[in-house]
Symmetry: C2
Subunit: 198 residues, 2 copies
């Protein structure tokens, strides 16, 4: 088979998706052209539209199509509380718990020196400017509880405490519904150290 | 987070890719918008170009941008031999062996009654017309050695033999470099039945 040029270009372009290698890219290209041309056209237009219109909120850094996102514009929210998360997906999870009524800052990443991701890549200057606006009084760190997430939280915590802000971190402990027998020792150790009087 | 509309549309559209669920689609959308907008625009254009220009070869049914593909137009090839494969990827593998100098017919699928894929979906009428052109004398069946591939080969074989064509199938046996201890019993049984005098 001598592949046609547009098919080659498509297969190569599909490899730009995270987690897609040469075999997957070929399978995707064949599938779309053979079984779902409408889907291919739809995806093509959606990509171009999103690249053109989606940008970052000037306040919280999340994806938005306006200068400031809807969450940041919501007058019902408490502007003295600022929750720092790694991704919009994390923010969505916290919103679903209905336990936080403040505003957010989305890092769009985490510190990861091994991958070459430093403070500039996760917009920490923008976060400092946001947190020191005079209205924010407490910053809740809700980065992941992975090594990178913990390191990011520690770094941000030191940075903001030096500027006189109150900084907190989501509680660590045994998950709701967790059976001690099946919870890892690190989590139980943390829960023991952070035990609370009832 | 209140997701912006173009981002939602993109995430939904990414789910049209085979093997991509809601979480993967979200991760892909975030990755492209955050880290690879050039890649997103490239992929968007590639999809629209491919949908517009890629069609099927009128002779062998593979993907092409012209009425007849380059392989079918090649005067060096033996038009009396026709090799039937499931996909363009299979054709490419056979080409790489440099052992076949005839022409191809690409089914773009396989018979799979459980998935509702019948003879019409794999272009068997087009194959009959192609194989009975008066020039083709032998048809080599190179569908996969899976249940579906074997069933497809059997079906096509009966169909073409009834029309007086010579039909052959790729040999089954122990793979090159295979150690008997680690080859499955079904393959060894087949290799024993199909043993050849040396």
């Amino acid at each position: 088979m001598k592949s046609t040029s547009n098919l080659d270009v498509l297969t190569e372009a599909l490899r730009r998706l995270p987690g897609v290698g040469p075999k997957s890219a070929q399978r995707m290209a064949f599938h779309l052209l053979q079984h779902d041309r409408d889907g291919a056209a739809l995806l093509g237009r959606a990509l171009l539209q999103a690249v053109e219109h989606v940008r970052h909120c000037t306040l919280c850094n999340t994806f938005t199509e306006t200068a400031v996102c809807e969450t940041c514009l919501d007058p019902e929210r408490d502007p003295s509380l600022l929750c720092v998360v790694e991704t919009p997906a994390d923010q969505l999870m916290i919103e679903q718990t209905l336990t936080f009524k403040g505003l957010y800052f989305v890092l769009m990443g985490r510190l990861s020196p091994l991958d070459g991701i430093g403070p500039k890549d996760i917009h920490l200057e923008k976060l400092i400017a946001r947190a020191t606006d005079g209205v924010v009084s407490e910053v809740v760190l809700a980065t992941n509880f992975t090594n990178e997430g913990e390191a990011t939280a520690h770094y941000i915590s030191e940075m903001l405490k030096a500027r006189g802000l109150q900084v907190s971190r989501l509680a660590r402990g045994v998950p709701v519904g967790g059976e001690l027998e099946y919870v890892d020792a690190g989590t139980i150790a943390r829960a023991m150290l952070d035990r609370r009087s009832t």
